[in-house]
């Protein structure tokens, strides 16, 4: 089943045509990697799914973007509700200046959840899902800034998971991390796909190979090729895809 669909999506930053006719489907409970050289439109495309591009001036979007069958750019769509359903994790870990516990509980509290037991249970579950619980369970009141970079990033993932999204957007989630933390994040992504639909932007092609089921190659705003990751990395159909993944350009 397709969790997300885009049909002939064009996006403009003023006069600059950043996305050109992108038509693509993303399957439920899968990991899709978006790869391509810098400035090709990967992050722009990613931000379409939770309407983060709305926050950028002079952005114009054409085409259809459907999440769970519904056009998210229709009039009347509640963007806050959309962003609960479609969570996001950024390149640089960005924990709030709060305790570990409060970072994860924040989303619940702003959504009006007051039940203490419920919040505690949800915080624990989210930290377990993010493979962080065992490392922080005895120091939940400590500042999130006391954690290492890799732990902070997993905290940000727990924070996103706490409000029970169905889709997770990850914009180069491990690029600022050391190799061991990167490996932990990648294993986490592999486990999370059983419950979530994950789209990940990455510059690291080996990472795309390791974690994703499908890979989409973007170049200069166009979607060049999308296929099963094993096909993209063993026998891509487009010569530009082959040139990119073999390091011959980009």
């Amino acid at each position: 089943m397709n969790k997300i669909e885009t049909r002939n999506v064009n996006l403009y930053y003023g006069d600059f045509h950043a996305l050109k006719g992108i038509t693509m489907s993303i399957q439920e409970n899968s990991v899709t990697a978006l790869i391509g050289p810098s400035g090709c439109g990967k992050s722009t495309y990613l931000r379409c799914f939770n309407r983060m591009n709305d926050l950028i001036q002079k952005v114009k979007i054409e085409g259809d973007i459907l999440v769970e069958g519904k056009d998210i750019y229709e009039r009347g769509v509640d963007v806050d509700e959309l962003r609960k359903k479609v969570g996001m994790v950024f390149q640089k870990p960005n924990p709030f200046p709060k305790s570990i516990f409060e970072n994860v509980a924040y989303g619940l509290r702003v959504n009006g959840v007051k039940n203490k037991a419920f919040i505690e249970e949800r915080v624990e579950r989210s930290l377990q899902q993010a493979a962080l619980w065992e490392e922080v369970k005895d120091k939940l009141k400590k500042s999130a800034f006391a954690l290492s970079g890799g732990q902070q990033q997993r905290l940000c993932i727990a924070r996103a998971l706490a409000i029970e999204p169905t889709v997770l957007l990850m914009d180069e989630p491990a690029s600022a991390l050391d190799p061991l933390s990167t490996a932990k994040i990648e294993e986490l992504i592999y486990e999370l796909k059983n419950k979530y639909t994950i789209i990940i932007v990455t510059h690291n092609m080996q990472q795309a190979g390791r974690v994703s089921d499908h890979t989409a190659f973007f170049y200069m705003g166009e979607l060049i090729e999308v296929d099963e990751t094993k096909v993209i990395f063993t026998n891509p159909k487009n010569v530009r895809t082959q040139n990119y993944i073999t390091g011959r350009f980009g």
């Binding site: 294993e187 592999y190 190979g209 390791r210 990751t229 094993k230 990395f233 063993t234």
Partner: protein, 221 residues
């Protein structure tokens, strides 16, 4: 278990399954030859298609692992060894099929006395024993089991060297059975090849576990 670990585990399971399939092919050759059973020979031919299909699948899986995971160290050695073990197993399967075809092509069973002169039973039993050692070595990562194969292969080589003289003598004695002698000579060669291919498998197992290259006459110890 990481994603790569689960892929490698699955690859190993496929390799063991391929190994067992090929073992059963060689084992059926014994029945086919000694009972002159055409049904079993036909079974070997049919099963050969499965061997070939599994070889292609394992090759693809190795390719995918290399492309997607960029394995290094022991993981890389395992995938490289798996590619070669796979190829050797497929060729063992080809040899078993070839032997089955000889049984189907001849009109009469091979006389028991000739099967003995050509040491056929000894060759088959040695090949099967070597294949068993190889499965043990692969499943348990046991290089001692892998090394046992080398001496057994020497025994097969010795029989192979002796049968040319045996054949010349038999042709001089009874030239009305020349076709049988030629067929048996070819069958002995096929079993000798099976021995060589099993030895290749053991070399790859030692390479993957100990990172030692034993091809082309390197020290086995």
């Amino acid at each position: 278990m990481t994603h790569l670990d689960s892929e490698l585990k699955f690859l190993k399971e496929e390799l063991v399954a391929m190994h067992r399939l090929v073992y059963s092919q060689v084992s059926k050759c014994k029945e086919a030859l000694f009972r002159f059973d055409n049904d079993i020979s036909k079974e070997i031919l049919v099963t050969e298609k499965r061997v070939n299909a599994l070889e292609l699948k394992i090759d693809r899986d190795c390719e995918n692992i290399l492309a997607l995971f960029n394995p290094v160290a022991i993981d890389l050695r395992f995938v490289l060894a798996a590619l070669k073990i796979n190829s050797n197993l497929e060729r063992i399967g080809d040899n078993a099929e070839g032997i089955a075809r000889y049984v189907l092509d001849v009109k009469q069973p091979f006389p028991a006395e000739l099967l003995e002169r050509y040491h056929i039973k000894e060759m088959i039993d040695t090949c099967l024993s070597m294949l068993e050692d190889a499965i043990t070595a692969l499943e348990n990562e046991d290089t001692a089991a892998a090394r046992k194969i080398f001496l057994k292969d020497d025994a097969l080589d010795q029989i192979n060297r002796s049968v040319t003289a045996t054949t010349i003598k038999l042709v001089e004695e009874r030239n009305n059975m020349t076709l049988h002698f030629i067929n048996l000579l070819s069958i002995v060669r096929k079993f000798e090849r099976i021995g060589d291919q099993t030895k290749n498998i053991s070399e790859e197992i030692i390479f993957y576990i100990e990172a030692k290259v034993l091809r082309h006459g390197q020290n086995i110890n």
